[in-house]
């Protein structure tokens, strides 16, 4: 039982009309881990998560969540997982306390008053408990939403882009909380398109246009991309000129400027090296080899997927 993954889906398909949003995706989410779910906007992340918590019915494929059959044991699944929606979906016209009491009531938590008191205290919102939830800032709303969906101590937590529109400090605190929950034995699946967040996950799945493109640890995913990366450094004009020259040269797949440096990424290491050396000499920029980042790998996956679509 404990070795069985928290989520296992096989060949999952979801269509909206004639648009296939999730296209035969198979993946596991291991127990006790934080699994990142990555992909560009519109890649099907939210749809996948909704299928996994029973909010959408799949058009094909099978799956189990916490050992329960997807599409059959929906109500059991709902009562044992926590799901935090992308958009704030608690009631803005209820106070913080009333919202928490509502959620606690639906999960049948007792004694209600004490449970809510504890959560409020844990959040540090006891003094503001009678404020309307709509009056909270984005960061507080997000913390409150997280508190609301872990109140009933679910074994599995699904988070759909939880940190969208939240400042860096709040994001860091949020991730600390997630690691804390995972350390307590909770399995977490979190969708994001922030690379620094992906790097905080034990395991990542990359989905693009409804297809699973890569999965593994961060290192495995980077290695899987099979990319070589060079760094060109110099004054701004030189770097800009170098980027313009590199475009379309043999071996060059992607270029990405970072201030006064330029990441040049390619699959064919030898050809890439020739091109970069040539450009470095021409523009007078310094060249060095560097490690491929997760972002480089994902940008590559994205453009490859786009090429496949075309």
């Amino acid at each position: 039982m404990s070795t069985e993954p928290a989520i296992r889906v096989e060949g999952l398909v979801k269509r909206f009309g004639d648009r296939t949003v999730v296209d035969h995706v198979s993946m596991d989410v291991n127990r006790g881990q934080i699994t990142g779910f990555l992909g560009p906007n519109g890649s099907g992340k939210t749809t996948m998560i909704r299928v996994m918590c029973g909010l959408l019915t799949a058009d094909g494929g099978t799956g189990t969540v916490l050992g329960y059959q997807l599409g059959r044991d929906t109500r059991r699944i709902k009562s044992e997982i926590g799901y935090m929606t992308q958009r704030f979906s608690l009631y803005e016209d209820l106070t913080i306390r009333e919202n928490l009491a509502f959620v606690a009531g639906l999960y049948g938590l007792r004694p209600l008053r004490k449970v809510v008191d504890e959560v409020l205290e844990g959040l540090g919102l006891s003094s503001r408990q009678h404020q309307l939830a709509g009056a909270l800032s984005g960061g507080w709303k997000q913390r409150m939403a997280l508190a609301a969906c872990v109140m009933h101590k679910p074994r599995l937590l699904l988070l759909d882009e939880p940190t969208a529109g939240v400042d860096p400090k709040a994001r860091r605190d949020f991730w600390e909380e997630i690691h804390h929950l995972a350390a307590g034995g909770m399995t977490v699946l979190v969708s994001t398109h922030y690379m620094d967040e992906a790097e905080r996950c034990h395991f990542v799945n990359y989905i693009s246009y409804g297809k699973l493109v890569a999965s593994g640890t961060v290192e495995e995913v980077i290695a899987h991309a099979g990319l070589t990366t060079f760094l060109l450094e110099g004054e701004m004009e030189k770097v800009t000129a170098a980027e313009r020259m590199l475009r379309g040269m043999p071996g060059v797949a992607e270029t990405a400027p970072f201030g006064t440096s330029l990441h040049v990424v390619g699959r064919d290491a030898a050809a890439l090296k020739d091109s970069v050396q040539h450009v470095a000499a021409e523009t007078g920029t310094r060249m060095s080899a560097t490690e491929t980042s997760l972002e480089d790998a994902f940008i590559r996956f994205m453009s490859e997927a786009q090429d496949n679509m075309a």
Binding site: G54, L55, Y83, F88, F102, L106
Partner: protein, 377 residues
């Protein structure tokens, strides 16, 4: 996990009541709208207008004409503002709307009566609004012939005596004075309830969808039945307040008689309100936005107002319209409340409309529960 849990229902109910209370404008409307409608409609609508301006064209002012005029005025419908001998002048009066009726008594009227011929009177009514004239016309023939009967008695003295004690009898059962309010006010209760109950509940789910809270609600372990009950039950409370308000006003302001059993009436009202909130909830399972819910509600309102017998007499409609009218809870409610309040009907007399209302409750609940989308598909 069970299909129904009181604890979950309590959480849903508490949330709905708080939200309802906090939405001040809507809450004020739920109490204010009924009061306003009741006062406006109760005092303004009159299907049986009286004291209508009329013109009399009588070339000869004989005793028969005078008797008829007196008798007509005594019905309360006619007020002879203009007495003239010129048909053209009367024609002009009715044309510009100064009078609703022109009563023409021909010059050979008394001679024909004395000879025993069939005398004729011409009544021209401004029928642009048929409702205005109908009551007045309906009494006319009877009144006139009675007046003449008295007046053409053999002896002159007897005729004079008869004229002084001329009595006009208009017989209307259940509403002896023909007071429109007796009919309108109980009907208004139905219309007001229908308006507020259906509209409020029709937005129950669409509001959650539009505010984005539906996703979270569905992700939590609440069943369709619990969500439905949580949404509709608070409105039964609002309905109870409206019922108390309208019934008290009916008694205190309009003096509507109340001859039947209060408990029977309240039972009927309860079933009716239940059918309304369920109908509203059904609409909200079908609509995707609050706007659509509103449109669907109005799509339902108009025919139910027109075909239920609230605005126009049910029996006056063609058969197909009557059949359509049967499809609205309001139709059955009107039959029930008028029978109980005005006629003192007991359960056996109103079992048919009561049963119809129960059918609506079951049908709407069934449709709503099967239509309710447990997923976001």
């Amino acid at each position: 996990m069970s299909w129904f849990s009181l604890r979950r229902l309590r959480a849903l109910l508490r949330k709905e009541v708080i939200q309802m209370r906090r939405d001040r404008i809507t809450f004020a409307m739920m109490i204010g709208v009924p009061l306003m409608q009741l006062l406006l409609f109760g005092f303004a609508i009159n299907n049986d207008p009286k004291d209508l301006p009329a013109a009399l064209v009588a070339p000869t002012q004989d005793r028969y004409s005078r008797a008829i005029v007196t008798a007509l005025e005594m019905t309360g419908y006619y007020r002879f503002d203009h007495i003239t001998s010129s048909a053209a002048e009367a024609e002009a009066l009715i044309e510009r709307g100064a009078v609703s009726f022109v009563v023409t008594i021909p010059s050979d009227f008394d001679r024909r009566i004395d000879k025993g011929d069939n005398p004729q009177i011409l009544i021209e009514a401004d029928a642009t609004d048929p409702a205005v004239a109908s009551g007045a016309i309906s009494t006319l023939g009877q009144v006139a012939s009675e007046a003449l009967l008295h007046e053409s008695g053999q002896e002159a003295e007897a005729a004079d005596a008869a004229r002084s004690q001329l009595e006009v009898v208009v017989h209307r059962r259940y509403n002896p004075e023909g007071v429109t309010q007796y009919n309108i006010v109980p009907g208004l209760l139905g219309v007001i309830l229908q308006m507020t109950m259906v509209m409020m509940t029709s937005m129950a789910l669409t509001r959650e969808v539009e505010r984005g809270t539906m996703e979270n609600l569905l992700a939590m372990p609440a069943t369709g039945l619990e969500i439905m009950l949580g949404k509709i039950l608070p409105y039964l409370g609002v309905g109870a307040v409206q019922v108390a308000l309208v019934l008290s006003a009916a008694k205190a302001l309009f003096g509507v008689p109340f001859v039947g059993s209060l408990w029977l009436l309240l039972t009927g009202v309860f079933i009716f309100v239940l059918s309304l909130v369920l109908l509203g909830y059904t609409i909200s399972t079908a609509a995707r936005t609050q706007m659509q819910a509103m449109q669907l509600t109005f799509f339902f309102f108009l025919p139910s107002l027109l075909l239920s017998g609230f605005m126009f007499p049910y029996r006056g409609m063609p058969v197909w319209a009557q059949v359509l009218g049967e499809l609205f809870p309001l139709t059955h409610f009107l039959r029930m409340i008028r029978a109980v309040m005005l006629k003192g009907a007991d359960l056996t007399n109103v079992s048919a409309p009561m049963a119809a209302l129960v059918v609506f409750v079951l049908a709407y609940a069934g449709i709503a529960l099967t239509r309710f989308r447990r997923t976001l598909d």
